[in-house]
């Protein structure tokens, strides 16, 4: 429909044309300080994200993987400015988004959107599907009411639902359907970047493939870039072009997805890949599983030097004294390790 195209174009015009790289994150940090009314009480600092760098190019997917406490979700939230970074820069098309205020911030928000993990809590149970999907456009005052209504119908069909589902309530939809609604809502403002925070973890196994295929389809159609946050390595491998592995607030390895999965260099990456069971009994019986010792250290009190050293089979004295920095190796792989 010409109205929809016009609307999409108008949104695109307002936000400016594409540049290269699309997203550039440098030295990103987020420290949570436990506040206390009593000034003499010691404040503990939780370094959730402690110096993270990565780039994302148009039309590509960056997989951000790690276990609990690694900071991947917080990083994603900072990209949407749902959390304010303590330090570092987030550059979109060469512009630092932290400098944005007021109207610029409003326009910026059209470029980056998020898909949430929990399909049950990410939709207001009292609003109809149509209202939920339309909300970003309502807030931003884009187009006329009719324009928005038509676009909602188009979006619902695009994600594999029928337009008449717009009048239903979330409780009448299945988990997979609700997640599709979440995708439709994220697409409403025609963004360039979508941060997907564990989009399939809360779904039934038989439904996950539907959502993943959907995300891949619309990526090529709409030239979207994804920051795909997940702990599910098999899914991340399937959808990502590049991968960054996080541990306790830092990136320990970063590189092209295929290379990284074939030849993981950092001991944590190796352990992580080794820990994921493969649905093939023959392969499983033949595999050498490297089990990590010990537990995850507390994020508010990480080990000195290399944070992974307490569980690392290769740790030496240097690892406790000096923190390894992310350095480039062959083929554009970045690894933060003294021993590798």
């Amino acid at each position: 429909m010409s109205l929809l195209v016009t609307l999409a174009e108008r949104i695109e015009q307002e936000r400016g044309g594409p540049a290269f790289p699309l997203l550039d994150v440098r030295g990103l940090k987020k420290h949570f300080v436990s506040s206390s009314v009593f000034k003499w009480k010691q404040r503990s600092v939780l370094r959730a994200v402690d110096g993270v760098d990565f780039k994302l190019e148009a039309g590509k997917t960056l997989g951000l993987v790690g276990e609990s406490g690694c900071g991947k979700t917080t990083t994603g939230r900072m990209l949407l400015r749902l959390e304010e970074p303590t330090d570092g820069a987030i550059m979109i098309d060469g512009q630092d988004i932290q400098q944005l205020g007021g109207k610029q911030l409003k326009l910026y928000r059209r470029r980056v959107q998020m898909i949430f993990q929990d399909p049950y809590m990410s939709l207001d149970p009292r609003l109809s599907i149509r209202d939920s999907v339309s909300e970003p456009m309502d807030v931003q005052g884009v187009g006329t009411r009719k324009d928005r209504r038509d676009r909602v119908s188009w979006l619902l069909e695009r994600v594999g639902l029928s337009a008449e589902m717009g009048s239903r309530l979330p409780s009448q939809l299945s988990g997979g359907q609700r997640q599709r609604v979440g995708v439709a809502r994220a697409l409403a403002l025609n963004p360039s970047i979508i941060v997907a925070d564990e989009p399939t973890s809360a779904l039934d196994v038989s439904v996950r493939a539907q959502v993943i295929n959907l995300l891949k389809d619309i990526q090529t159609d709409m030239n979207l870039s994804y920051v795909f946050i997940s702990h599910d390595l098999s899914t991340v491998r399937h959808i990502s072009d590049d991968i960054a592995v996080m541990y306790l607030g830092k990136i320990v390895e970063r590189g092209k997805a295929e290379d990284l999965f074939d030849h993981p260099m950092h001991p944590y990456t190796q352990a992580l890949l080794s820990a994921v069971p493969v649905p093939d009994p023959v392969k499983e019986a033949q595999r050498e599983v490297h089990l990590l010792e010990g537990e995850l250290p507390s994020p508010s009190n990480p080990p000195s030097g290399c944070r992974f050293r307490t569980r690392c089979p290769l740790a030496i004295e240097q690892c406790a004294a000096e923190e390894p920095l992310l350095s480039v190796r062959d083929d554009g792989r970045y690894v933060a390790c003294h021993r590798v």
Binding site: L80, Q113, M114, F116, M121, P125, V139, S171
Partner: protein, 295 residues
């Protein structure tokens, strides 16, 4: 014997799905608010229609019919100076119900506004509001009401405020806790990421979800207020004669419990009935809410 239909050992006592009981339970659940309304609404209507009803004038004294028991002329009897008890109860209903609903409205209104602000805005606002709230919660309701009346004197509005002052902190607390819970839900984040301002989030997402639980609490506040007002008036600290309220009606009949038991008893029964009615309404709303909130 191995293929059994209902293994005895696995049966939980008293929880067999007998059709009768479940039917009754279903009836009670869905109809609770209807039964409650069936009690409350007629009373309200009758109270409002009072002056136009073909009954005796509540203020008309008639010493010739003093202390007469229930009869055709005076269905609920007369008091010492010959006033018709029934019409006095109806007149008193107006006052008591007005107090009840006013308290509920003020408490819930203040609760929604202050509770939302406290839960949603900065920690400082929250600490400030909750400190005041905690102070008021420390006082037992009735004593606080008595103290307020002692300071500001008796009278309808004084009574309303005196009772409301105990309920407002509770309502604020409740609203605040609901808001705190809603604040972290992802759909709020979704609205934020679209650049929704705080007022939008409050009006569109937060407050509407809290209205229904507040309604539940409102009916309880109303029932409670009617009871407290009766207590205050009974003690002479609430609504003063000649304006009738259920409380001072009971007080009037206090000395005549043996000779004219109907003077105190019927107003007491009236209070009982309206309390039950309001609590049933509250239960009914809560029953309807439950499946919604669970999903």
């Amino acid at each position: 014997m191995s293929v059994v239909s209902t293994p005895a050992n696995l049966r939980i006592p008293a929880s067999l799905p007998l059709p009768d009981f479940s039917g009754l339970r279903r009836l009670m659940g869905h109809q609770r608010s209807l039964i409650g309304l069936a009690i409350v609404l007629p009373i309200v209507v009758i109270a409002l229609a009072g002056p136009y009803l073909p009954i005796a004038d509540p203020l008309e004294t008639n010493p010739t019919v003093s202390l007469q028991g229930p009869s055709l002329d005076h269905p609920l009897g007369t008091d010492k100076i010959g006033r018709d008890v029934l019409s006095r109860i109806i007149a008193g209903a107006r006052t008591s119900l007005f107090v009840g609903f006013s308290v509920a409205t003020i408490a819930v209104g203040a609760g929604i506004v202050l509770g939302t602000l406290s839960g949603f805005l900065s920690k400082w606002v929250d600490t400030a509001v909750m400190s005041v709230v905690d102070v008021f919660l420390a006082f037992p309701g009735l004593l606080l009401a008595i103290a307020m009346v002692a300071v500001f004197g008796a009278g309808t509005w004084q009574v309303i405020l005196a009772i409301a002052i105990s309920d407002i902190p509770r309502a604020i607390r409740l609203q605040r806790s609901m808001v705190l819970g809603l604040k972290t839900r992802p759909f709020i984040d979704a609205a934020r990421m679209a650049h929704a301002p705080s007022w939008w989030i409050l009006v569109r997402h937060v407050v509407p979800s809290t209205i229904a639980p507040m309604l539940v609490v409102a009916s309880i506040y109303a029932a409670n207020a009617i009871l407290v007002e009766a207590s205050l008036s009974f003690l002479g600290l609430g609504i003063t004669p000649p304006e009738p309220s259920w409380g001072n009606l009971i007080k009037d009949g206090q000395q005549y419990l043996q000779t004219g038991w109907w003077i105190s008893t019927f107003p007491g029964i009236a209070i009982l009935i309206i309390s039950i009615g309001l609590h049933l309404v509250s239960d009914g709303i809560r029953e309807r809410l439950d499946p919604m909130m669970r999903s």
